[in-house]
């Protein structure tokens, strides 16, 4: 039975990913910043681990607790959005640093920390959650400076990671959930169940040849 680790699994897309992979028979390791408040997650019966996705010490602690556990798929889902309405002059140093630390370094730090777990598994997949807002060629409406910067950089980082790790047998891929009705989007968009069902289908059928792709919940490649 394959095992998946999902960061940021206490709500929204992460919670639904934990629910659907668990229902499909996967071993699920769900991380959250505050396990004490994760009642819905606990009810799923999945393994819950504490993780602050932007904190190197927290990531190291998680890796130590998971030492020797094969993990087929690491899915760096945790992410943040800050001032989405800021214009260029309003983007602060502090905001940019905070968003980059969580959305850009966080996934890389997690993938690196759990690389041995992934190599010890059968499927060997490291994934990060991207977004249509990451797409440079599709960007003709602007806005969301810090979030877009972090996700465009994440795409490039994961593409570069694929360049380095595919030879070791690790598939480094990006997911796009689509515009999902969650707290982050003001509950506009498609149902989270539909987005996650699509992404789960993508994950279930991934192979090494997919390394370096950015794949939508609908199975389609997202333009860089």
């Amino acid at each position: 039975m394959p095992r998946i680790l999902i960061s940021g699994a206490n709500r929204g897309i992460g919670l639904e990913l934990a629910r659907q992979f668990s229902s499909a028979g996967w071993h699920v390791i769900a991380t959250t910043r505050r396990p004490e408040g994760a009642e819905t997650l606990r009810a799923l019966g999945v393994r819950i681990e504490t993780l602050e996705a932007s904190d190197p010490a927290s990531i190291r602690g998680l890796a130590e607790r998971l030492e020797g556990v094969p993990i087929d798929v690491v899915l760096a889902n945790a992410g943040i959005a800050r001032n989405l309405d800021a214009n260029a002059a309003e983007v602060t140093t502090a905001e940019m640093r905070e968003v980059l630390q969580t959305n850009l370094w966080g996934p890389l730090g997690l993938a690196v920390a759990l690389k041995e777990n992934v190599l010890a598994s059968e499927r060997k997949v490291v994934m990060a959650m991207s977004s249509l807002m990451s797409s440079i060629s599709a960007n003709d409406w602007g806005t969301q400076y810090s979030y877009r910067a972090s996700k465009a950089a994440l795409n490039a980082l994961w593409s570069a990671l694929a360049r380095e790790w595919t030879a070791e047998g690790i598939s480094c891929t990006l997911l796009r959930p689509g515009m999902v009705a969650t707290d982050m989007t003001g509950h506009r968009g498609i149902a989270v169940e539909d987005s996650v069902a699509g992404m789960r289908h993508v994950v279930e059928h991934l192979c090494l040849a997919d390394s370096g792709r950015i794949i939508g919940y609908d199975g389609l490649d997202v333009p860089w």
């Binding site: 932007s54 190197p56 214009n87 260029a88 002059a89 983007v91 140093t93 940019m96 640093r97 980059l100 630390q101 850009l104 370094w105 890389l108 730090g109 993938a111 690196v112 690389k115 990451s134 440079i136 960007n139 003709d140 409406w141 602007g142 806005t143 400076y145 877009r148 910067a149 972090s150 465009a152 950089a153 994440l154 795409n155 490039a156 980082l157 593409s159 570069a160 990671l161 360049r163 380095e164 790790w165 370096g212 860089w224």
Partner: protein
């Protein structure tokens, strides 16, 4: 005589841009830290948080027809993914992505008083996600892709006052000429990759 501000003229590629623009008859204002040209260059270190504000104060109300952001960081280019800590990655992002965005936004008054102004970002091949095949250089690739994304944003936000947001995506030696030609054609697209 049109005026261009170029950051990082004490090293490549800023140096080549400065020479190219001077040869084409532009007034060139350069930033850098080359002690040989002490006094000729404006001080600006994109890694320092107050550097942009100080540079803008020094420029005053001078009209800038173009600003070229050529001062970037290649720190961490030789590191394997396993060796990249948050400090090097975020620091390179702040220098290569945030600093140009921040300085460009602070220069809006200088750009608005010029005719057909332009801000020019240097991506090189590194920022061309999906096509770049060079090894390693993870911080550079991430920061330059994000820089291209920021320039797309600026092109949308600043379209109403006609600022063009250009990206140099090639590594070839003739790019100063190509850029000067693009700047001489005010009707070029608001967000153009050269």
């Amino acid at each position: 005589m049109p005026t261009v501000l170029i950051t990082g003229v004490d090293k490549a590629p800023g140096q080549a841009f400065a020479e190219g623009f001077r040869a084409a008859g532009w007034r060139v204002l350069g930033t850098g830290a080359d002690p040989v040209h002490a006094g000729a260059l404006l001080p600006y270190d994109p890694a320092q948080e107050n550097a942009a504000a100080e540079l803008v104060a020094q420029l005053g109300d001078i009209a800038l027809d173009a600003v070229i952001f050529a001062d970037d960081s290649t720190a961490g280019n030789a590191l394997r993914p396993e060796e990249i800590g948050p400090n090097v990655l975020i620091d390179v992002m702040m220098v290569n992505t945030y600093a140009p965005l921040d300085l460009a936004a602070r220069l809006i008054p200088n750009l608005k008083v010029a005719n057909h102004p332009a801000v020019v970002a240097i991506s090189g091949n590194a920022g061309m996600t999906g096509t770049s095949v060079a090894p390693l250089s993870l911080p550079l690739k991430a920061s330059k892709a994000a820089l291209r994304q920021m320039w797309r944003n600026l092109a949308v936000e600043w379209a109403d006052w006609g600022c063009r947001c250009l990206v140099i995506a090639s590594e070839d030696e003739a790019r100063a000429e190509a850029l000067i030609a693009a700047l001489a054609a005010p009707s070029s697209a608001p967000c153009l990759e050269i």
